[in-house]
Symmetry: C2
Subunit: 350 residues, 2 copies
């Protein structure tokens, strides 16, 4: 059967109406929406065709039609018009970017929050995780005679620090010695390459009776681990309950629980090649997401890392609007963090 232009118009009208109302839409309503060129009976015939093509379905005999997953897919791929962001919307997003994204450390979390506020859907944010991170340099700063600060910087330009106190005193010279030893022995190594063996050797070479080296190195290990570990942040969960499809607790609870237990990042889809991805209903791998849609976008955090932000909602979510906002935000984030241009307020360099 042919997907005529009229069928496409009707399908689109049905989907957009359903996106708005969450109610099955009938032939009469569509006849009106299209502009009364044809009668509702004609629409009915067309709808029957669309249904047999698998693009629509009926919740029951005498209800209107609702889009099927295939229908949404067609809509997203071909029918959907690009949503133009209003000046207000872009301004709001820009403001969010300016205000919230000060600390790189908390980008993930913040990005999720912003997305959720922007879309009124629950959102999640995760980092795509780094592999093969290494420490680029160590710095030890003497604070008091029995306290110093470790500063480590990774090859991906992330800096972490910790204050260490000792049971006994330490001289500046000792610290210097330790510092150079660390920088010669433990830089450029991945997590796996830092073996207990290596530490023992270094400890011996330095004549380190205090176990200082292991203290500092274990901090470095912690940093490397935390960077390799991906974490997920979810936010705006309460938005879910505003949607008619989740007025029933039986529907809402499993999804809410799934999103709340944000332990395992593997459960959230990440876009591989494209900057943006739309997963409709059963296209999701996770069971709990089987009748929700997920829109994910990725952005460049710089230094080879990518961040991922996503929105979870009912299959009838307003794809046009969501994708527009999400991609605009992702671009903004890329601009902010990517290309080595960190959000420190610094300008472009070299």
């Amino acid at each position: 059967m042919d997907l005529t232009e009229r069928k496409r118009r009707i399908l689109r009208a049905i989907i957009e109406s359903y996106i708005q109302s969450a109610e099955p839409v009938g032939s009469k309503a569509i006849a009106q929406a299209i502009g009364m060129e044809v009668s509702s009976a004609t629409i009915r015939n067309e709808m029957a065709d669309l249904e047999s093509m698998g693009l629509l379905e009926k919740p029951h005999t005498s209800a209107g039609r609702i889009p099927s997953v295939q229908g949404y897919r067609l809509y997203v791929n071909e029918l959907m018009e690009e949503h133009k962001l209003s000046l207000q919307e872009t301004e709001r997003i820009n403001q969010a970017l300016r205000l919230k994204m000060q600390e790189l450390d908390r980008v993930l979390d913040q990005a999720g929050r912003v997305v959720s506020q922007l879309t009124n859907y629950p959102a999640f944010a995760l980092s795509s995780g780094m592999e093969r991170v290494t420490i680029r340099r160590f710095d030890l700063l003497m604070v008091e005679r029995n306290a110093f600060i470790i500063v480590v910087m990774t090859d991906s330009n992330i800096v972490r620090n910790r204050l260490i106190r000792l049971p006994s005193d330490l001289t500046e010279a000792q610290l210097q010695l330790l510092n150079t030893l660390l920088n010669t022995t433990f830089t450029g190594l991945t997590l796996e390459e830092i073996t207990p063996e290596l530490m023992r050797v270094a400890q011996h070479a330095a004549g380190d009776s205090y176990g200082l080296i292991s203290l500092v190195v274990s901090f470095a290990i912690e940093v490397l681990e935390s960077l390799e570990r991906r974490t997920v942040h979810t936010s705006g969960l309460a938005h879910l309950l505003e949607l008619p499809e989740y007025r029933s607790l039986d529907r809402a609870q499993p999804l809410l629980s799934y999103l709340s237990e944000d332990t395992d990042p593997a459960r959230f889809p990440i876009p591989k090649d494209d900057p943006m991805k739309i997963l409709i209903g059963p296209e999701n791998v996770a069971d709990a997401l089987k009748d929700t849609s997920v829109v994910v976008a990725s952005y460049d955090i710089g230094d080879g890392m990518r961040g991922v932000i996503g929105v979870v909602g009912p299959t009838r979510m307003d794809y046009a609007k969501i994708t527009a906002r999400l991609s605009y935000l992702a671009e903004g984030l890329s601009r902010l963090f990517g290309r080595g241009e960190l959000p420190d307020g610094r300008d472009d360099h070299k």
Copy 2:
């Protein structure tokens, strides 16, 4: 009217049954619970008395009784038996403490999560906020010719850092100069004392044409602000929906929204003098919490700061169990962070 020993026993039985079941409890059930020494009719008489004393109430004529706010208050103050934590429970808490609390930075968030997991209620966590924080020292570390790291340490021993890139190159000597200038001019000052005036003077004195000083100082300001600003973290919101009183969306939604929009810490109660506080129903100030109970505990983060963790649940929450777990956890956290014993692995100092 006298609150006889028998009345107290009955009241307690009613409250504990209601805490378990969330169903109004009838005379017969109580007669059984007490041990059938008396008949249900007697219980009925006693219950009528308790009701006229304002300790019980009826949802409607032919239902059982439920505790009133006053009833809960009496229970919490006098009737409640201390809940003994099982070995498993303490072990679980200790493990959570050991595993999760590695980074002081994320204590708040983590503490909230742990509480929520421990109690199966939504939890919130906030810091009591610091006042009059000052920078104790600056360190500038040269990374490349056009990049350096700022490390600032506050008088409360919190260390923060940031990587700064410059449009042009810089010599080690320049950085040294800047470093000493910062340490002589901008240490020991509170947020208010760092005026634009002062910055201009310093900039002039240093002949700082790059605006480097303002770059570094604005980072310092950011750090001070972030420490003074209190933030709230909520977690485990989905637990709310497991409770029968929030099976109805109309009840759950306002509360969920209230807890989700965790912007304003002022909306959450913090215990003033006592280490633990129980707020039952309308004893809460916030409207959205008027028919929930909140249990909060505070713990010592060290250096004069206190953290606050709390649990939100229905008025019929299991006060005995919750308070036991919460206070154990709070003590653990105090031990971990308080008394200058930071989780860095360092020991007591001076």
